[in-house]
Structure formats: C-alpha cells, structure tokens
C-alpha cells in the first residue's frame, strides 16, 4: 500500500502524464498539419507560376509572329525562338511537379499541332497573308492557351481535394486534447474523492472524536480505510488517549 506522499504524487503525475502525451500527439499532428498546409500552398504557387510562364511564352510567341506577319520581316525570329525555349522549360517544370501526367496531355497535343503549323510556315512567314493568321493560326493558338488554362484549373481542383484531408488532420490534432481533457477531469474527480475518503475524511473524524473526548470524555473511536500514515496517526492518537485515561485513573 502506498503512503500519503506517494498517493498524492501519483495523482498529480497521472494528470501530468495525460497532459504530456496529449500535448505531444497534438504537437506532432499540428506540425504535420502545418507542413501539409505549407506543401499545399507551395504546390499551388508552383502550379500557378508554371501555368503563367507557359501562357506568357505562348503570348509572346503570338506577338512575335503577328509582328512578323504585319511588318513582313523576320526581325522577331530570335524573340520567337527564345519564347519557344521558355515554353519548353515551363512545360518540363510542370511535368515534374504534376501529380497526374495525363493532366498535361492536352497541352502536349495542342503544342504538337501548334509547332507543326509554325515549323511548316516559319520560313515563309513574311509572305504569309493575314487570312492564314486569323483563320488557321488563331485556332491552334487558342487550343494551346485553353489547354494551359484547363491544366491550371484541374491542378487547382486536385489541390482542393488535398485541402479536405487537411480537415481530417485538424480533427486529429484537436481530438487528443479534448479526450485528454475529459480523462483529466475524470481523474481529477476521482483524485478529489480519494483525497476526501482517505485523507480529509479521517482527519476531520479524528479531530471531532478527539474534541468529543476532551470536552465530554466520549471514547475516541474512528473508523478508517487504508493502512497509511493517517491510520498510523489514528493508532498513535488512540495510544495517547489511552495513556491519558490511565494517568487520570
């Protein structure tokens, strides 16, 4: 059987253990939640950036080609080629970060048909009439830009799915704390009950009985549960009371 000191220490240590464990788990879940949130935001930012780079590159190619058609010169050729390279870099970056490669399929197809069209006409672009630009080129250009925009929307929708899993992570981070609080309250109530039963109750009973003995010579009688220091104290008081009785006799 534990002594009073050990009992009380155990009570507080139990509470501390519960709070510590739930704290650690909540902390781990919160840090996992935090890193997941950061990763999600990073992914979203990266996705937007690559999509923007692709759109910018295609738009710049478009401007360069338009200038070449209008002016009838090939001055913008180097600008066009540089933007083609920029587009390829952005597309490669997107293919490295995208979760589902199929999401890029439409871009690859649109780019292929766009490139074939330009490759076939780039050498004679100065002689090309505006009707070609408006009727044939423009359709391919719009196909490519809408493929890039669709990729951007689809990637954002995928990320929204990831955000739902964040909700369950947040639930996991909060629940240990709530449960530990519930268990902690139960232990606290039990602790209060045991302290009353094994410590406060006997001490009050001994005090009352001792007072009754001193004032009215009523025999010192206290019922006890447990075999700790309080029980020893009661036995010692009983011994003292008996000695007092014998002396007076």
């Amino acid at each position: 059987m534990f002594g009073i000191r050990k009992k009380i220490t155990t009570g507080f240590v139990s509470l501390a253990i519960i709070l510590f464990f739930s704290g650690v788990i909540s902390l781990l879940e919160l840090s996992s939640l935090s890193s997941s949130t950061t990763a999600l935001l990073d992914k979203s930012k990266q996705n937007m950036e690559t999509a923007k780079q692709m759109l910018d590159a295609v738009q710049n190619q478009n401007t360069a080609l338009l200038q070449m058609v209008i002016t009838g010169t090939s001055e913008q050729d180097s600008v066009y080629l540089a933007e083609v390279e920029n587009f390829e870099i952005a597309l490669k970056k997107a293919s490295l970060t995208v979760r589902d490669l199929e999401a890029l399929n439409d871009i690859y197809i649109a780019r292929e048909s766009y490139n074939i069209l330009i490759d076939n006409n780039i050498d004679k672009i100065e002689q090309t009439d505006k009707q070609w630009f408006v009727n044939i080129y423009k359709t391919n250009y719009y196909n490519l830009t809408s493929a890039i925009k669709n990729y951007m929307i689809q990637s954002q929708e995928d990320l929204a799915g990831d955000a739902v899993s964040l909700e369950s992570k947040a639930h996991r981070a909060i629940t240990p704390g709530i449960l530990a609080l519930g268990v902690g309250i139960l232990i606290l109530l039990m602790f209060l009950f045991f302290i009353n039963t094994y410590l406060v109750g006997p001490v009050v009973a001994m005090q009352k009985s001792l007072k009754a003995f001193i004032n009215a010579k009523i025999p010192f009688q206290v019922k006890m549960q447990g075999q700790d220091e309080v029980a020893e104290l009661k036995e010692n008081i009983e011994e003292l009371v008996n000695k007092c009785k014998n002396k007076r006799a």
């Binding site: 059987m1 009992k7 139990s14 629940t175 268990v183 039990m190 045991f194 039963t197 447990g226």
Partner: protein, 483 residues
C-alpha cells in the same frame, strides 16, 4: 455503497481494455504494407485508458469483499466506462467517426450487437478492425467476468458479480460452485475461439480475418472485416463452420462444458436446448420452403443453404449475412421477427428474451389454463425436471412484458423521426436483443449510417438495456437503491 471499491474493480476492467488496445496497436504497427494510420490513435488510447484504469489501484486496498449493490454498480459502471474508452480509438482516428458514431460503434461492439454506422468497413486500418472485434470478444464473455480472472482477490467476489452478469435462469442452471463459473467460461470461450480460428483459416480465410470473425462469432456479435459480411467469401465451408460455432455460442456455456466433460446434465438432456434446436429447425423449414416457393432461389438446396445461415445468425443474435433478407417473403420476415424476440439460451452470450423464458412463459400459460379448468388443483411448473418457484416464473413474465414495452417504445420514437414502420420496429427489436441487422433500411447487407443522429444515439440505450438484462441498467437511475 463504497464507491472506492467500485472504482478499483472498474479500473481493472479498463486495464483489460487497455491490453486489447495495445494488441490492436501491434496489428497496426506490423500491418503488411508498413505501419498504418491506426497505430497512433490506438497507442494514445492505450495510454489514456491505462492511466484511467490504474489510478484507483493506487488508493484502494487489494482485498475487499463486495456486496450485491456494489457488484451491480461495478458491472454497469464497467460496461458504461468500457463503452466510453472504447470510443477513443475511433474518435482519434477520425474518418466517418464523429462522437455519436464512435459511441454507437463502441456500444454496439461491447454489447455484442454488431450494428455498424460504417459505409466502408474495408477502409479501416487493421488495428481498428481488430479493436472492433475485440470489443465483441470482451463484451461477449462479460467484461466483468474477464476482469475477475485477473483479480488475485477472488473468493466470494466472483459470485456476486456473476449473478448480475448472467441472467438469473442461467445462474440457476450452472449448479457449480461460484469459482468454477469463471473457469468454465474461460475454458469454453477461449477453446471455441481457437478452434474456430484454425478451422476458418483451413477453409480459406486469412489469419487476420479468421481471428476477427471468430471473435465475432463466439461473442455472437456480428462485426465483419468485409462490407458484404460473409457473402464476400461465398464459400460453403466457411458458412458451415460459422453456422456450427454460432449455434454452439447460442447454447448455455455450462452445458457445453458438461457435454464435453461427459456429464449427465448435458445439451442433449436439457429441455431448453431441445426447445432452442426445435425452434431453429422449424424456422429453417418454414423460411426455406417459403423462399423456394416464392422463386427467390432457383433450387431448394440453395434456398436451404442461405436460410440455414441466416436463421442461425438471427436466432443467436450474431447478425452475419450471406443474403439480403429484405427480399424475403412476408412469412419468412415474420418468422425471423419471432426469432429476434426469442433468441437463444440463457447462459450464452446472446441477447433477446431467451429461449428459457419463452419456454417458461408457455408453461405458465398452460398452467393457468389448467388452473381455470381445475380451480383447486395444485399445478407445479418444472423446467429440466426441477420445480420453478413463483418468483422465477413471475420474473420471467415481467421481463417479457418489459421487453415488449421497450420494443414498442423504441418503435414509437423511431417513427416520430419519419422512419418507416418495419425499419423502426426491427431496429428497436434488433438493438434491444443485441442482434444487429433488421429489415427495411437496416437490412442484413445495410448499415445504420443512414439513420438520423438522434436515433443512432438513442438506440445505444436499447443496446445497453438488452445487454444488462434490462433491470441491471434501470437500477442505476433509482437513487433510493443507492442508499
């Protein structure tokens, strides 16, 4: 009432729960694809439950005799707190488990009801699947009975707890000294679980599924690791093994022991066991013929195969499924509803009114008719050759009346929430009898997930009432009784 003593014994029960949580955590830690998502919820639940369970042991003396009121309080308290700590792994895991759903799943597990709110059981991690089955296994044998085995201070304590845990009829039938009851339960329960696990493995289940289904069968629970329950396996041998063990689990455990030990007081001589088997056979005959005649199955043997399994599953309050009972004929459904009222023998882990009480009630009615014909005659009521005193017969009648009233009360509450009559009635009956599935929206292949939140919460009260033989739980709320 000495609450400190009550706390100590409840603490021991919680520690037993913690041990099973730890075993479940091991299943998650060593899952085939590496540690799964069930590990942290289970390990944290183990820690919380251990601290809660061990705390009273520090303060309360080891050897204390307990009286009847304290034993009642220990049983009811242990059951309620086990259900409470049983929610921890579910709550911490999340997914479909909110507080009401976790409480429902935990109560359904510990009361061996086997009803679930999960739409997709198979997405649960292995540790949580094992924990669900463990709640059945622990609940089946009686959390308190198990706790007593690990308590060094045995003596008279055992008997006072057994009397609450087992129905009074079962206690009378044992005819053994108090300390033998726990040993018999342990021997039969563990032995049957081991045998069934091995046989299911041989029949084609994986070890993991075999263990889980054995836990469910012996406890007459009904939780499965598959969404379509036993129908998933579509294996005749698995169905045969489950039928045999479900039927055995519906028998008086003491009688199984005496039969194995070759004693004269055995299953074959027991009037109640005979009544239980006759009821089962008659129900199988009526339902299989009705379904065959209706053309639900192409041939009679197929009809018999599915009917036998479903009848045994219902009468033993297990709740496994191999077919959709919602497609049954009205005759088959009403026979099944009778079985849901009667259920199996006292002294088993089944719920319901129990075959003993139905048999006794029929004898009381027969005696009443006789006494009206011969007013001066002294008519004695006997069961298994022994005379039943008036207190036992009147308690059986009161129990049946209360049971019917509670079923009707449950039905009224459900219909108030716009549920259809068949679903409402069979749900109340199923929860009070700790069966699991019913008819309508909660058919054999459905779940309770679609029911209103209030209904899910209130049905757990019926489950607890049924498990604690109705009056065991009611006493808790009678303040005068505490004094």
């Amino acid at each position: 009432m000495r609450l400190n003593i009550v706390f100590r014994y409840i603490g021991l029960v919680l520690l037993l729960n913690a041990i099973f949580m730890l075993i479940s955590a091991c299943f998650s830690a060593f899952a085939p694809g590496g540690m799964d998502s069930g590990f942290y919820p289970l390990i944290l639940s183990t820690a919380l439950t251990s601290v809660l369970g061990a705390f009273p042991l520090v303060f309360v003396r080891r050897k204390e005799q307990i009286n009847t009121k304290e034993s009642y309080m220990i049983v009811v308290g242990a059951w309620l707190l086990s259900c409470f700590v049983g929610t921890f792994p579910y709550l911490l895991w999340g997914g479909e488990f909110g507080f009401v759903n976790s409480w429902f799943e935990s109560v359904s597990g510990f009361t061996t009801t086997g009803a679930t709110i999960l739409n997709d059981v198979e997405q649960l991690p292995r540790g949580l699947l094992f924990w669900r089955s463990s709640t059945h296994w622990l609940g089946g044998v009686g959390v308190v009975m198990f706790a007593l085995i690990i308590v060094p201070a045995m003596g008279r304590n055992k008997m006072s707890l057994s009397s609450v845990e087992l129905s009074s009829l079962a206690k009378d039938n044992y005819k053994y000294r108090a300390h033998k009851i726990v040993n018999i339960l342990l021997f039969v329960y563990v032995g049957m679980t081991l045998c069934e696990t091995v046989l299911l493995k041989i029949a084609g289940m994986s070890w993991f599924d075999a263990i889980n289904h054995s836990f469910s069968t012996i406890a007459t629970g009904g939780f499965s690791t598959k969404n379509s329950s036993i129908l998933f396996y579509d294996n005749v041998w698995i169905e045969v093994i489950l039928c045999v063990f479900m039927a055995l689990a519906g028998l008086h455990f003491g009688l199984i022991f005496t039969t194995l030990a070759g004693k004269t007081n055995n299953i074959f001589r027991s009037e109640v066991s005979r009544f239980y088997f006759i009821t089962m056979l008659v129900a199988m005959g009526i339902i299989s013929l009705s379904l065959f005649k209706d053309g639900l199955f192409s041939d009679f043997l197929t009809s018999l195969r599915y009917t036998v399994f479903q009848v045994i599953s219902i009468i033993t309050t297990t709740g496994f499924a191999t077919c959709d009972a919602n497609l049954w004929t009205p005759l088959a459904i009403i026979v099944a509803i009778y079985l849901m009222f009667q259920c199996s023998c006292a002294g088993s882990t089944c719920g319901g009114i129990k075959a003993d009480r139905i048999l006794l009630a029929s004898k009381v009615i027969k005696a009443k008719i006789k006494s009206q014909q011969h007013p001066t005659a002294v008519i004695r009521i006997k069961m298994n050759g022994s005379l039943q005193d008036k207190e036992v017969t009147s308690y059986a009648m009161i129990f049946i009346a209360t049971y019917v009233m509670l079923t009707l009360a449950g039905t009224i509450v459900c219909t108030a929430f716009d549920m259809d009559l068949l679903t409402s009635f069979t749900m109340s009956l199923s929860c009070l009898g700790n069966i699991g599935p019913g008819f309508g929206d909660i058919g054999t292949l459905d779940n309770y997930g679609s029911l209103p939140l209030t209904i899910r919460a209130s049905s757990t009260i019926l489950m607890l009432l049924g498990r604690l033989e109705i009056f065991g739980l009611i006493q808790l709320f009678v303040i005068k009784w505490w004094k």
